[in-house]
Amino acid sequence: MAWQWFHRLGSPRWFYEKSSRWLVWFAPLTLVLMVVGISWGLGFAPIDSKQGNSYRIIFIHMPAAALALAGYYIMAIAGAVGLIWKMKLPFMVMKSAAPIGAALTVLTLATGSLWGHPTWGTFWEWDARNIFMLVLLFLYAGIVVLAEVYPSRDAADKACAILALVGTINVPIIYKSVDWWYSLHQPASIKLTGGSSIHPSMLYPLLLCILAYYCFYTLALILYTRREILVRESRTKWVAELAQAKFSQSQNASGGAP
């Protein structure tokens, strides 16, 4: 009985119907958080004494980096759940998480290089975090490509899950080894935060931005997963009924006001 909710999670139909109700309030909430967080950070937070206005990109850059990394673990956990309990829905979540994570990684790299130009004087620096993000992008790309090229969907799901799990073990190792490599080479010392702790007037908008990004990630993941559910379940009766209902609804709407 206690596990009933868990097994219901495995049903794509249940998720699709529930998430329709969640989206009604969750999508506006995300939008509000994003608008408030980013406009607070970009428009109202105080100017940094060393970096001037260019530091403001942190409000877009840092949450994206955090989620790009968290997204990999979310993807791998979804894959593991799918492998262990042989459920359909987690695989759909895993497959949807890969392109979102890749997009966030690209956003992190892009905003990072835009930020690097005024502060470090270069778009690309062989900094430990830069390399790590680039490797993370390759890890995501591997999953996306593997999911595309596999001949059967079932096999693709399981193969991606295995790759994601092995990648999970590797992510901390890659992170540490890149860090180690960076400290061995001892390049010109560049510090992002200057060692000082961040002032609350900058911290609060940053925290809000992180929260907004988490909501945005969840929203994107739900929307992607819903799309994946419709694609994969397109032959089932409930999707056919859903499509029929949508169709007649739009017929009525256009027919009602000629």
């Binding site: 490797v135 390759f138 890890l139 790309a141 591997g142 490509v145 593997l146 090229v149 596999y150 001949p151 059967s152 079932d154 096999a155 399981k158 193969a159 295995i162 790759l163 799990l165 092995v166 990648g167 073990i169 590797n170 190792i173 890659i174 540490k176 080894s177 890149v178 180690w180 490599w181 061995l184």
Partner: protein
């Protein structure tokens, strides 16, 4: 199941696969040569493409030899399970009472004996060509010996995941490359720090730890991947 219990110990199947694969490699000797030739040619081309001065070559030699060894290993991975997949023996391996972990491990050992080990053995020769400083030879050979074993183990996962694909080279490279990164960093830096006089013990210890972990995890993951990719 009963075969495993009645008279066929685990080691027998393991040894049989190693013997069979070594024989098959021996009969197609040109296959072993291709990664070695790639290794040799790319290292020969390197000074022609950059600058043949001793000083520059000595600086980049450890990294370059390591990168070329990595690429040569990558080049040879696709053949790891390909033939067994094509002629159906892979299905027999999966169905047999022998644990697939041991089968994969045996195939990886043969792969390492026929690609990684030869690469490590001829590496000092290439070191001479790239005027590697004298302190770097033993660390280079030892780190490549351990490193290529790790790369064969990790590569087994990539080969197992892509064995059912018709054009697997690009996918294999893409999924394996990020996993090779720590090995390259630790391996190449072991040689550089030995040359710089810091000592190679730290790097070699890290490589050994990575090998121990890879032996435990990678054949398991590759066995799981083989079950998936050969079953559709």
């Amino acid at each position: 199941m009963s075969d495993a219990q009645h008279g066929y110990p685990l080691g027998a199947g393991f040894r049989a696969i190693i013997r069979r694969d070594l024989t098959s490699v021996w009969r197609n000797r040109s296959d072993i040569a291709s990664p070695l030739v790639f290794f040799l040619i790319s290292i020969t081309l390197l000074p022609l493409g950059v600058d043949p001065s001793d000083k520059l070559l000595a600086t980049i030699a450890p990294g370059m030899i390591w990168i070329m060894a990595l690429l040569a290993t990558l080049l040879s991975l696709d053949s790891l399970f390909r033939q067994d997949y094509d002629d159906g023996s892979l299905t027999q391996f999966i169905l047999s009472p022998q644990p697939l972990y041991l089968t994969v491990l045996a195939k990886v050992i043969v792969h390492w004996l026929t690609t990684g080990l030869p690469l490590a053995i001829i590496a000092p020769l290439l070191g001479v060509m790239l005027s590697l400083p004298s302190g770097g030879y033993w660390p280079l050979v030892i780190s490549l010996t351990i490193g290529t074993a790790i790369m064969s183990l990790i590569g087994a996962l990539g080969a197992a995941l892509t064995v059912c694909l018709r054009s697997s080279a690009l996918v294999l490279t893409l999924i394996i490359m990020p996993l090779y990164l720590p090995v390259l960093i630790i391996g190449a830096n072991t040689v550089s720090s030995a040359i710089a006089g810091v000592g190679a013990a730290q790097g070699l210890a890290l490589l050994g730890a990575a090998l121990a972990m890879a032996v435990l995890i990678m054949p398991l993951a590759a066995a799981g991947a083989l079950r998936i990719s050969s079953n559709h």
